[in-house]
């Protein structure tokens, strides 16, 4: 059976408010899929719909071929970290995890293992209400991994984490995907997603804007501008030139490359033993492009007469 999340025309109204609007997508195993959108764009609602914490107004969503509620061991199918903390503030981290584990007959050893894994060993017996945001996130991630799930779904996991923690989550997600699991991570930060996710599903105002590989999205969204500083500018320019690639000299030993990612440029240079002094994807323009993209979608929705090209 395929391990994946499949949403079909998913729609959710809260009263008059349309939080999720006719959303269809598939999250595949083996890669990290980023779920990207501004705050309030419906990411958390979509995740609640997947877990059937909320019922969709119309449409359908399944995990591994079944409704989440119909699985006999749900924590083995999906491990989730939800955006709002889902922990009783008066209970210790250990007892919180133990209570969740016991619903599936999972033993205490597993709880200890995960507490060590997320680095909460020293505070495991302290009340979760006293935890910092970062510690709370680590506890949430431990809870998500408790049932050794085939699908991991994390809502804004790096929120409140220090740089070391962010790096840890990044490695963790990539490792989980490499094991063949389905990894679905939401974020409102394009820069973070561009480092973690292989595939992106971008939403704005509850509607899907883009569903493509991260490389392709970056190329489209930022115009693929990468700054390269090299003493071998001429050789590199000749090497990179191609039908979809433009290379312009921005100064002595400085090139602006469009149409290739920093990864592709770096690997091409290494393969040809060219020296690079700087290789900088234009991240600022990436964030800007992402905001423009989502803003366009909002405007497009408000004025239905705008031509479709306004979207991308």
């Amino acid at each position: 059976m395929a391990t994946m999340i499949e949403a079909e025309n998913l729609t959710k109204y809260y009263g008059e408010q349309r939080a999720v609007d006719d959303l269809s997508f598939t999250v595949q195993p083996g890669v990290v899929t980023g779920f990207l959108g501004p705050n309030g764009s419906g990411k958390s609602t979509t995740m609640r719909l997947i877990l059937e914490l909320d019922a969709p107004s119309s449409g359908d969503v399944t995990v591994n071929g079944k409704h989440y509620r119909d699985h006999t061991a749900p924590l083995h199918e999906v491990g989730a970290l939800l955006e709002a903390r889902s922990v009783h503030t008066g209970r210790s981290a250990y007892n919180h995890l133990l209570a969740l584990a016991q619903t599936h007959g999972i033993g205490r050893r597993r709880v200890d293992e995960l507490i060590d894994l997320v680095g909460l060993h020293d505070v495991a017996r302290k009340r979760a209400g006293k935890f910092s945001l970062g510690m709370g996130q680590r506890l949430g991630i431990a809870a998500a991994l408790l049932g050794d799930p085939s699908t991991i779904m994390l809502d804004e996991p790096v929120n409140g984490l220090d740089p070391e923690g962010i790096l840890w989550v990044r490695h963790l997600l990539r490792g989980l995907a490499a094991e063949g699991r389905t990894v679905f991570v939401s974020s409102h930060l394009m820069s973070e997603m561009s480092l973690t996710a292989d595939h992106l599903i971008v939403i704005g105002r509850g509607r899907k804007i883009a569903d493509m590989s991260t490389d392709e999205f970056i190329r489209q969204a930022s115009g693929g501008l990468v700054l390269v500083r090299t003493p071998q500018a001429a050789e590199l320019e000749a090497l990179l030139s191609g039908p979809d690639v433009t290379v312009t000299a921005a100064g002595p030993g400085l090139l602006e490359v469009r149409g290739l990612t920093a990864v592709q440029i770096g690997e091409a240079a290494a393969a040809n033993q060219l020296v690079l002094h700087e290789l900088t994807p234009q991240q600022a323009s990436l964030e800007e492009a992402f905001m423009t993209l989502t803003r366009d979608d909002v405007e497009f929705k408000a004025a239905e007469l705008e031509p479709e090209e306004a979207v991308l």
């Binding site: 877990l51 006999t72 009783h88």
Partner: protein
Amino acid sequence: MSAVSQAQQIPRLAHTGRVTQLRVALSEWTKLRSLRSTLWSLFAGVLLTILLPVLFAAITSSHWGSMSPHERADRHPLDIALAGVNVSQLAIAVLGVLVITGEYSTGMIRASFTAVPKRLPVLWAKTAVFAVVAFLLMLPPVLIAFFASQAILSRHHILQISFSHPGVARSVIGGAVYLMLVGIFALGIGAIVRNTAGAIATFAGIFFVIPPLMNILPSNWNHAISKYLPSEAGRQLFSLTHDANSFSPGAGALLFVGYCALTLAIAAILLVRRDT
């Protein structure tokens, strides 16, 4: 960096079990015993149930000499022995409410329903575990309260009643059963209202506000209606005497159990239907 790359290795789980009602009950037991606030409230309930009757017995004994015959006739040993039940019912009710509303206010309910997405096993497990704990924890205190207050009263040779006297054992044990049912009723209210303050106010309204209001009604109306109130029906469990305006212990208990079942049924329907 080495610590970071080591951390990626997620230990595999040897085997995964399915969710069963018994496992959810074990989980709810862990939840109940792992909150310090729960333990303190239960402890307070136990203490009040024992100490108030002892205190009343001591006061009654020391003032017996100065009491008028009318006043003396008004005192009943079982009222003294079970005085704590009236107070600790509030502690039990607040706890019953908190068992469920505490999860809504902290967001824990999302974790609970993610682990048990069918939801109803959580409600049944919470109810069963809390009911068993409330009964087992409150039974010794009501027994202790009875024998302790009797010991004090008998030293002054007043107001003595035997445990084997008809209805006494039923009333004393009925006090613990009543507290258990109050807890179940409150838990149901908590699951319906989902908000701690709102649920406690609703419970207090039903148990402490509506009954005295009945006294404003014409007395034949009062007599006709009052006995059907949950608090009045439940009270028959630990009342020794019954008259034309009250149910028998069995009928009262049955009616109160019916109210608890109705509350839980409404809670169950809402629990499955509502967004979390």
